[in-house]
């Protein structure tokens, strides 16, 4: 069956002609709707966990819907599992994914940046000036940084003190700096305030850098200066750090002057709220965050900088026919994770397909599992099941790996973490890992 899908969709694309595919997108569905089965035009902005999944599940649910995916990168690099690259446990390339499967499903993949959205006219304007009309729009824009939040930390400073919180050249830069650092150096991480992409991510990164130091530069130290007083999976991380990296990692909460307010990237120096200065050998600043810029331009963000949504469908509460998924949304108690973006995208896709067919949206369902790796055979997780009750998202069940779990349990969760990455990569992009 799979082969039939590929051949027939390619056949359709070939018949349209690759050059005409984008132009046809705007015209064909209206005709098709008038005399044959219901269809529609959906544009998806962003090709990460949320966007790629949305495009795929729109096609899976109704192949007759015209789906265009707008994503600047031909090869997408995921943040999840990039921490293992810092630990020396994976190559950079193992986090790369392409859009071949989406193309084979008939998705019109356009490698450009969405620059503007007109919610009234129902159009998206691309960097090259092309205008894409839509019936329904999915935005999966991820995050952008608040470059004005920490004095001295702007895009130029990030070339010296990488954030590496969007995977790609920034990740390679941080890895190169760690490799070039002499034994006995100090790695400083400036950890962000809530809410931000991937709550346990900074602390998994600390674990993986510690693993790299332990195996290659055992006299080196790690200092985490945090804008928060507690963090995701804190007890489990703290236990793991003591077990594997005792004495190497110091974590300073905001209440103990951990909040950094000034960065001097040239001198790799940071200054805290109460004026203490720390000098790093390698400096990783993860700044405060907000929804990706296209969300703001589309008018779907609120004063928080994030996107409020209807939890039944993930349609914007501010602009009709725009659905927003992933890190950009206000969806607590669900975390800003790849798993959640993938899950929200499936709910949005089902709601859009139903709406285009003139039906009510199906009942939404959500889950999350986030694995973190502390050492090669030592993984931990947080999980949750979510539902909409009285119009609000609630956690039905969930929790952390037990604090007293056996080494065997931790080893299984390390293996399942890898399994999760393989499964979600296949689910979103159709790519192995």
């Amino acid at each position: 069956m799979k082969n039939t899908v590929h051949i027939s969709r390619r056949g359709v694309l070939a018949a349209i002609g690759s050059a005409g595919a984008a132009a046809t997108l705007g015209v064909a569905p209206r005709r098709a709707r008038a005399n044959t089965a219901p269809a529609g035009r959906v544009v998806v902005v962003g090709g990460g966990f949320g966007g790629a999944t949305a495009a795929k599940y729109l096609k899976r649910r109704n192949p007759k819907i015209d789906v265009a995916l707008v994503e600047p990168s031909e090869v997408f690099v995921t943040c999840p599992f990039t921490n293992l690259y810092f630990g020396g446990l994976r190559t950079f390339e193992q986090q790369e994914h392409n859009y071949d499967e989406l193309r084979s499903l008939g998705v019109n993949v356009i490698h450009d940046t969405a620059q503007a959205v007109d919610g009234k006219a129902h159009t998206v304007t691309l960097g090259n000036g092309q205008v894409l009309p839509y019936d329904k729009l999915v935005l999966s824009p991820g995050i952008d940084f608040r470059w004005d939040a920490i004095e001295g930390y702007d895009e130029a400073a990030a070339e010296l003190a990488p954030h590496a919180w969007k995977a790609g050249p920034q990740s390679r830069l941080l890895r190169e700096q760690l490799e070039a650092m002499p034994d006995g150096g100090l790695f400083i991480m400036v950890a962000p305030p809530n809410p931000y992409r991937c709550p346990p991510g900074p602390y998994e990164r600390v674990s993986m850098v510690a693993h790299y130091f332990k195996t290659h530069k055992p006299n080196s130290k790690i200092l985490v200066l945090d804008a928060k007083d507690n963090f995701s999976k804190q007890g489990l991380f703290t236990d793991g750090w003591k077990k594997f990296y005792d004495g190497m990692i110091e974590w300073v909460p905001a209440s103990k002057d951990g909040k950094v307010i000034r960065v001097d990237a040239k001198n790799l120096t940071v200054e805290t709220e109460f004026g203490e200065k720390h000098k790093a050998s390698v400096l990783n600043v993860i700044p405060p965050q907000k929804a990706g810029f296209i969300a703001e331009r589309a008018g779907v963000t609120n004063e928080s900088g994030w996107v409020p949504i209807d939890p039944h469908t993930f349609e914007s509460t501010q602009v009709p026919d725009i659905f927003v998924v992933g890190d950009a949304t206000v969806a607590a108690p669900m975390p800003k994770s790849g798993f959640v973006a993938n899950n929200q995208a499936k709910v949005a896709a089902a709601a859009i397909v139903a709406a285009l067919e003139g039906k009510e949206p199906p009942q939404a369902a959500f889950a999350n599992t986030c694995y973190s790796l502390i050492a090669p055979d030592y993984g931990i997780s947080v999980a949750g099941v979510y539902a909409v009750e009285d119009g609000k998202l609630v956690e039905k069940a969930g929790g952390l790996s037990p604090r007293d779990a056996s080494d065997e349990f931790r080893k299984l969760e390390a293996e399942y973490g890898v399994g999760w990455y393989q499964s979600i990569s296949q689910d979103a992009w159709g790519t192995g890992a």
């Binding site: 069956m1 056949g11 039906k359 949206p361 199906p362 069940a397 299984l412």
Partner: protein, 113 residues
Amino acid sequence: MKNSVIKTAAAVAMAWLAVSPAAANDATAQPAQSTFDVSVQAATCFTCHGTGGTSPGSIPSIAGRPESVLLMQLKGFQADPPPAGTTVMNRLAKGYSAEELAALARYFSQVSR
């Protein structure tokens, strides 16, 4: 080509609607705010167990396994302590009603590997 497109559409539709009887039965147990579609709920499982429940990696596949076995396992995961070797499913399974677990077990039993 036309035939293959229709066949494809039919096959895709079948894959997704294979369990509509289960969905219809279960709808009575759900809040009336919107229709229950087991494929939406099942898709939350795909993220770890693979698209359609066929896993490419270390997490077990669940597609095409007997309904009774799947249901017994899902109920088992809810117990404290859960069966030996259980990790995250003890925390996740508790988020589903008996009706939802039954619908999921039926859904995955009817998906071919």
